[in-house]
């Protein structure tokens, strides 16, 4: 249909006849400024009475989704229509979702789980959420700063048979495709993926805003649906047994040197210069 009238609500940014729906998975992790402490019984890292925050990479993903909706930066106006934030975790993960809502996500889904799911299980639950929500794009952090697996986005894309664009430092949406610049070893690679797709974001993509007080207040009224992992009927049984979690070898403070010349002499004697 070439008559522009029939293109209906097509927007500058996409060739779709409706606005994009973006799903943003967010994880509650130990705040990046807090030092993780290993439990004495080596069963894991102590999370009791520790400040928790949204995984910093996920915050960047939420910010990018909101910019897609606002038409900020290089994004065309109204590229994204609805932003859904989803978190899998303990009931307090609701705060993390609220945080995403305060930045500008429209509604949230909490998939409650009292046990810490492995990345493969998380990817399977997210796939089930995607099957239900049918987003055009999943935008998420490249890794969580607790487990450092850097795996869920890639696995979600595989399970959905969608293309993936990982470690994004620039995202442009047009004509039903996403052009993504990726941070790779030694430089940048730009690829174009056909939507729907999974994009995982890296640090350079944007600097997330601070949520304003009015937006924090507004976020309190936004809807968060609560689900259980079991609702999705996926296999989330663990495949990995954590044998132990230990402290890395401690570094001892070394010696003080008097001046640059002494420092040079020491480094030369160590053979590093």
């Amino acid at each position: 249909m070439s008559n522009p009238i029939f293109s209906g609500h097509a927007r500058a940014g996409t060739s779709m006849d409706r606005l994009m729906k973006v799903l943003v998975p967010v994880k509650r992790v130990i705040d990046y400024n807090v030092k993780a402490r290993v439990k004495a019984d080596q069963s894991g890292v102590d999370l009791a009475n520790v400040k928790m925050s949204m995984n910093p990479f996920d915050e960047i993903a939420v910010e990018e989704a909101v910019r897609l909706k606002e038409g900020k930066g290089h994004h065309a106006a109204d590229t994204a229509g609805e932003i859904v934030a989803v978190s899998i975790g303990v009931s307090q993960a609701q705060e993390t979702i609220r945080n995403a809502l305060a930045i500008g996500a429209d509604r949230g889904i909490l998939v409650q789980s009292d046990t810490d799911l492995e990345p493969l299980a998380v990817a399977k639950v997210l796939k089930a959420v995607v099957d239900e929500e049918k987003p055009d794009l999943v935008l998420m952090g490249k890794q969580a700063i607790d487990g450092d697996n850097n795996a869920v986005g890639q696995m979600l894309a595989a399970l959905l048979d969608w293309p993936q664009a990982t470690f994004a430092s620039k995202v442009e949406i047009r004509d039903g495709k996403a052009q993504v610049t990726r941070e790779i070893d030694g430089g940048l690679q730009t690829i174009e993926v056909t939507l729907p797709a999974v994009i995982t974001v890296d640090l350079r993509l944007n600097t997330p805003r601070y949520a304003s007080l009015p937006n924090i207040m507004k976020a309190k009224k936004k809807e968060i649906a609560t689900k259980a992992v079991a609702d999705y009927g996926t296999d989330t049984a663990p495949r990995l047994k954590v044998v132990k979690v230990t402290e890395p070898p401690k570094r001892e403070a070394g010696e003080k040197v008097a001046d640059a010349a002494e420092l040079m002499a020491k480094l030369k004697s160590k053979g590093v210069l």
Partner: protein, 309 residues
């Protein structure tokens, strides 16, 4: 037992990350095959065949593999997976990109960034940016693993494996657009033997570059920065060393005007030798430094430049 190692290479030679991954594979045990994916990568496959302990090299080529697109690597590896008990790749950005995708297709829980092989099913990996080490035992029949190269010695040269060609897969939903390799004479931050990092003490972007660039050039070092310096706009974001930036482990790390926030320490504390230059004697960076120089960088760095000759 047989292990497949997916090589990291530049088309003509294999990078030493591949040799290190072969060492990790040898600790798992069994025959080791290397898969070279690329386009016009015959020379790299021949180079891989010279690594000691390798049974055979498989060379898969296609346009998508030339750009190491994850979907193309997945399509190439899946038909081969049946013949292997473990699939290993170096934890480079490429390895991290395709390995979990392969794992999910095989319904296997991937094990990322291992630094030690305890046994054929048990591995040690850093979590919380190296603030803790996790030992995990996999119950999956097949393992998909990325290997942190700094955790292993490089396998020696001296092999003479055969090279077999096979059909490479492609990535239907993804198109390559362009590539921009950093054209710097300086080594890459993640792979550099020496890293010099500057902090907020520099006070401005001009000062940061005026102090750090000549020193880095003299040492043949990469330049890093603390998050505080990046947030203040003194250094570009990709310079950031720390939990949310790059995790580095060079032979020598020189922190200049960096106080040593936890965030930063997490990104550099595995460096072999750490030097700290800071005018505040109580700066936390001194607690991890092998050599500490309590001095204003404004005097210390010029002195260091002179001493370097």
């Amino acid at each position: 037992m047989a292990v497949l190692v997916i090589a990291d290479h530049d088309g003509s030679t294999v990078r030493d990350t591949t040799h290190k991954t072969v060492t990790a594979a040898s600790k798992i045990g069994g025959d080791i095959d290397i898969l070279v994916v690329g386009e016009g990568a015959r020379a790299a496959a021949d180079a891989a065949a010279k690594i000691k302990g390798v049974r055979k090299v498989l060379l898969a080529e296609s346009a998508g593999l030339g750009k190491v697109l994850a979907e193309a690597v997945e399509a190439t590896v899946l038909p081969l997976a049946g013949g292997y008990d473990a699939i290993l790749a170096p934890a480079t950005t490429d390895g991290k990109n395709f390995a979990p995708r392969i794992a999910a297709k095989l319904d296997v829980a991937p094990i990322s960034d291992i630094i030690e092989v305890v046994s054929a099913d048990t591995f040690v990996r850093p979590i919380y940016a190296g603030n803790a080490l996790e030992t995990v035992q996999s119950s999956d029949a097949k393992k998909v693993i990325t290997v942190r190269p700094t955790g292993f010695d490089a396998a020696e040269e001296g092999g003479s494996a055969s090279v077999e060609s096979l059909t490479g897969g492609d990535a239907p939903g993804t198109a390559f657009v362009s590539e921009e390799k950093v054209k710097s004479d300086r080594p890459e931050l993640g792979a550099a033997k020496i890293v010099v990092s500057g902090g907020r003490a520099m006070g401005s972007s001009e000062e940061f570059h005026a102090v750090m660039d000549p020193l880095a050039d003299k040492l043949g070092a990469a330049v890093g920065a603390s998050r505080a310096a990046v947030d203040a706009g003194y250094a570009p974001n990709d310079y950031q060393v720390g939990q949310t930036g790059k995790v580095v482990a060079p032979e020598l790390y020189i922190a200049i005007g960096i106080s040593g926030a936890i965030q930063h320490l997490a990104g550099m504390k595995d460096s072999k030798i750490i030097v700290a230059i800071n005018k505040d004697p109580d700066a936390p960076i001194f607690q991890v430094a092998d050599y500490g120089l309590v001095a204003d960088y404004k005097t210390a760095v010029p002195e260091l430049m002179t001493a370097l000759g």
